[in-house]
């Protein structure tokens, strides 16, 4: 019988400091055969851990089309495990099992062809893999608009990718809520000052679009209001939720809410499917 708790060793092949307490890691599995069988989809997560430091769920933030070659995580130092993880360097190992959960829907299955991606703070991480995949598919009939709310220029994530995304046709809007930007653009992206919801008033929101959201519960509440005002149907809105997870496959109960398990039924959900579950967006 396969042991569902068994993680695989992966080595760090590249590491980058994304923000003062945030590191980006590129990993390859030590067992190459396992690596070749590791197919993830954007929005899925993996359990990442170190012996003696437990495991936690992290969204895989690389392009799923490279999934059997490498995978990337972006990790912020917040707890015991992540405090250790951000000290790791090239050549160090960590232990990964997954991929788990249901990710963002395939673009071809969306009723609305265009895509609006809205991320707040660390919530931008789970959206990165869908952006990386999405920009490759931009065409005259499939446009992509990105709203990213961030504390300040120092906390900016993935800024080394912006020009590529923009060159491929994405419209990227960044907004800082703790710092007045010194220039009207950062790394090629339009940049403003205020909460993420302000972007909905300042920028012409893309029409005929599906919306992909990730951020803290408070952001969901206000962004959902804005989306409703823009006429987005519940069915066209998808969100990625965060919960504590121990098993990753719908048994241990930590991520449960009402009748759903965020690990197994999500972490990405269609808004219409979960909006009536009490307390789903509340701490």
């Amino acid at each position: 019988m396969k042991n569902p708790y068994l993680p695989q060793e992966a080595k760090i092949v590249e590491v980058l400091k994304e923000a003062p307490n945030v590191k980006w890691f590129k990993l390859k599995f030590v067992n190459k055969k396992f690596g070749r069988s590791f197919h993830f989809w954007h929005g899925q997560f993996a359990m990442v851990g170190l012996p003696g430091f437990d495991e936690s769920p992290f969204d895989i933030c690389s392009n799923p089309h490279n999934s059997t070659d490498y995978l990337e995580f972006t990790i912020r130092k917040v707890g015991r495990l992540t405090t250790k993880l951000v000290t790791l360097t090239k050549g160090d190992s960590l232990w990964v099992r997954g991929p788990y959960g249901k990710g963002w829907p395939s673009f071809h299955k969306l009723k609305k062809k265009n895509l609006l991606v809205v991320g707040g703070g660390c919530g931008f991480v789970p959206l990165r893999s869908v952006i990386e995949d999405g920009v490759e598919q931009i065409s005259p009939t499939r446009q992509m608009q990105i709203f990213y709310g961030c504390r300040n220029s120092e906390e900016l994530l993935f800024e080394n990718r912006y020009r590529d995304w923009i060159n491929k046709g994405a419209q990227l809007n960044v907004i800082f809520d703790k710092e007045q930007p010194k220039t009207p653009t950062v790394y090629g992206a339009r940049c403003g000052y205020g909460l993420i919801t302000k972007l909905f008033d300042q920028v012409k929101v893309i029409k005929n679009a599906s919306a992909f959201l990730c951020g803290p519960p408070a952001m969901f509440k206000f962004v959902l209001e804005k989306l409703k005002k823009q006429g987005f149907a519940d069915e066209d809105i998808y969100l990625s939720l965060e919960r504590r997870m121990d098993c990753g496959f719908g048994i241990c109960q930590h991520c449960a809410c009402g009748k759903i398990y965020v690990c197994q039924d999500g972490p990405v959900f269609n808004y219409a499917a979960i909006k009536n579950i009490p307390y789903i967006f509340e701490y």
């Binding site: 060793e9 917040v78 919960r243 504590r244 098993c247 241990c252 809410c257 009402g258 701490y283």
Partner: protein, 335 residues
């Protein structure tokens, strides 16, 4: 078979297996390892603790620091005297941990012997009917067991075998007068339990129900109900230092009433209030387990009520869910 013969069988089993059985102690009936067949309590009391610790230990090592599985020996254990309610709970565990190799290895070495005592007594049978727990003829076809002993009115004991393992033990001990039962899964032929479906519906629609605010005021969130509950199976995966420099990954009983159960990085907790914790517990039993496994998440053993420091009675709580808005609710506590 009579009681003496049953004790004879137990003594023979004891030569090969560590035997655990209900035992009367000054504080009540508990499941204990027994040395003597005479220690077994046949009064029909439901033990205060549940059998789950034999199948799902409070703590077990999954891996060493190199993620190698430890060499664990799984002793041959006989769980003697499980009642039908406890066997139903075991059936649920068998489903939950179907893909868990640690559970499966341990489970293979456990011989389960059911007893008809401990089933709901006639005087409170009405309460148990809340869960549609009918003592129908085919109940044994829908619970897992190796051997089952049914005490008849005349004190004679009918013997059933529910598995090849059970048959082997009986044959080996020269008992040939038994009935074979073929396990047909936990769900009865007529389909999913109607009361379970009804409660699931009521739970998902009843979040604003006063019953939760009432429980919010009185529940201490001590988590004792979860510890004794035969169907509570949540767990944590945690690393602990086995030695000064060696860690191991453990699977440990979780408890949804304890702090940090639903806490995420940054200290945000999705079940910070008592109301949310108790809802979470009820949702697991009456929404998620029925949804996921199609069987009731409560076997109505009332262990939770017996250990609750403020005497919350699950049956009265569920009866309140049945009540209409204008009806006066029952006190959720007391018998």
């Amino acid at each position: 078979m009579d009681k003496n013969e049953a004790e004879g069988l137990l003594n023979k089993i004891k030569k090969e297996y560590q035997v655990y059985a209900p035992v009367q102690k000054s504080q009540g009936c508990f499941i204990n390892r027994i040395e003597d067949a005479l220690q077994v309590d046949y009064s029909g009391s439901i033990p205060l603790d549940s059998w789950k610790f034999l199948f799902f230990p409070p703590q077990e090592a999954l891996f060493d620091e190199n993620f190698k599985e430890p060499e664990t020996s799984y002793p041959k254990i006989c769980a003697w005297g499980m009642n039908v309610l406890d066997l139903k709970a075991l059936g649920l565990f068998d489903l939950v941990f179907e893909g868990d190799p640690y559970y499966q290895k341990r489970r293979q070495n456990i011989l389960t012997v059911g007893l008809s005592v401990g089933a709901p007594s006639q005087e409170n049978f009405e309460d148990f009917q809340l869960f549609s727990l009918k003592l129908e003829e085919d109940v044994l076809e829908h619970v897992p067991f190796d051997i089952f002993l049914e005490t008849m009115q005349d004190k004679k004991i009918l013997v059933y075998s529910g598995s090849a393992k059970g048959r082997q033990v009986l044959e080996k001990n020269k008992i040939s007068d038994y009935v074979n039962i073929q396990f047909a899964g936990l769900i009865a032929e007529e389909g999913q339990d109607q009361r379970m479906l009804e409660l699931k519906e009521k739970m998902t629609k009843g979040y604003e129900h006063k019953v939760w605010d009432e429980l919010d005021k009185i529940c201490l969130a001590c988590g004792k109900c979860s510890i004794v509950c035969p169907t509570c199976f949540c767990y944590n995966l945690e690393d602990e230092m086995a030695d000064s420099d060696k860690s191991q990954r453990l699977k440990k009983w979780g408890n949804c009433f304890y702090p940090e159960f639903t806490e995420i990085a940054g200290g945000f907790d999705f079940t910070a209030s008592v109301k949310r914790k108790i809802l979470f517990w009820y949702e697991h039993k009456f929404v998620r387990i029925p949804e996921q496994y199609k069987v009731p998440g409560c076997v109505s053993c009332l262990r939770c009520f017996k250990v609750c420091p403020v005497a919350i009675n699950i049956i009265k709580v569920l009866k309140n869910l049945d009540k209409k808005k204008n009806e006066k609710p029952l006190s959720p506590t007391g018998s």
